[in-house]
Point group: C2
Chain length 210, copies 2
């Protein structure tokens, strides 16, 4: 049995955005069932949880003695089992391109999105944030422009839905009005979020908060 | 033949730190030869280069019609061919753990390191940077503390050297005095940088600048 660790409680402002959603979504797309193990923000700091996840974050994935952290690696591990998320093992180039977009989501797009989200949610009125924000908006526009040109005319990053869209779709969820300037990306995000597997994953994530 | 794209010229301050080094290093560890294709900062902006790399960055990897960007994905693609960088394909759990640390390097450690490096190199005297920096130092210390506990008593992330150490070793190169507080990490970085494959990769990267 697969176990996914997620939070039992969260501030309302971040509910619906935490990374266990990525893992739940991939499992739903692959048709794999799982149990959730809900932890508190106190559990996060314990030595026993740090032995599973060195940075104290969620999600953690457990199955038959294998313990994995990092949502990107967990989603890849799930994807290798299911052609719903990745080409078959014989398509080495196809699999490499899916992983390329997974890293693009988490290393080229998310770090910029995250800096901007942090400012908008937690520091919007602070002088440093007002000085810093225009630089980040310019950088993000460059990255989103590149992504938008690649997605133009395609439903998903590699044409058909893959594990890369789980990560990219989730990363783009953090953006608000920035996406108004990129209609291709706004439509792509909507397409990702409309998938029944995403809707189920989001509902199960939210249900944990009662 | 494998081709790796890298820069022909760079400001001295960033020489030795660009991500083509990760790919060169992995290729050296795997014993695979390659050609380099050097581009200028003008080439970076062209449509033809953006067709290879949507964000205009280096490195790009080409071989037999396969074009890959994102250093994490390229290093993984190389690593799958060589047990010098990754367990064999039959060790599914072992390979998943290597990829877990690759994502940890590029999604849990690098984004914080990069924000701090950007401040130190380019904005050190600006008021916003002085206000922002302590938050980033605190966050980085949390991440490095977690990493340090995992590496304590081990030579490399998974015991023996893997592709994960190529990425983590390179990410840690960006840090200066922050590493003084983490002797385990300082020793780990030194161990990574002492590898002949890293030394060769670095020399070839630097040789491009004449």
């Amino acid at each position: 049995m697969i176990t996914v660790y997620a939070f039992r409680s969260l501030p309302p402002i971040v509910r619906g955005y935490v990374r266990d959603i990525r893992v739940r979504w991939a499992l739903e797309e692959a048709g794999l069932s799982y149990e959730q193990k809900l932890i508190t923000q106190d559990d996060q700091k314990t030595e026993s949880y740090r032995a599973l996840q060195p940075f104290g974050q969620v999600p953690v994935f457990e199955e038959d003695g294998l313990v994995l952290f990092e949502s990107g690696a967990i989603v890849h591990h799930i994807a290798q089992r299911s052609e719903a998320l990745m080409p078959s093992a014989s398509d080495v180039a196809g699999r490499a391109r899916v992983l390329q977009w997974m890293f693009a989501a988490l290393n080229s797009i998310e770090p910029v999105v995250q800096q901007l989200t942090e400012i908008d949610l937690f520091h919007a009125d602070k002088p440093w944030a007002k000085e810093r924000k225009p630089m980040l908006v310019e950088r993000l526009d460059g990255r989103l422009g590149g992504l938008s040109r690649r997605l133009d005319g395609r439903d998903y990053l590699e044409g058909r839905f893959t594990a890369a869209d789980v990560l990219m779709g989730h990363v783009l969820r953090f953006m608000r009005d920035e996406l108004d300037r990129f209609s291709v990306l706004a439509a792509y995000r909507k397409r990702c979020e409309a998938r029944p597997a995403f809707q189920k994953a989001l509902a199960d994530h939210l249900a944990a908060f009662g």
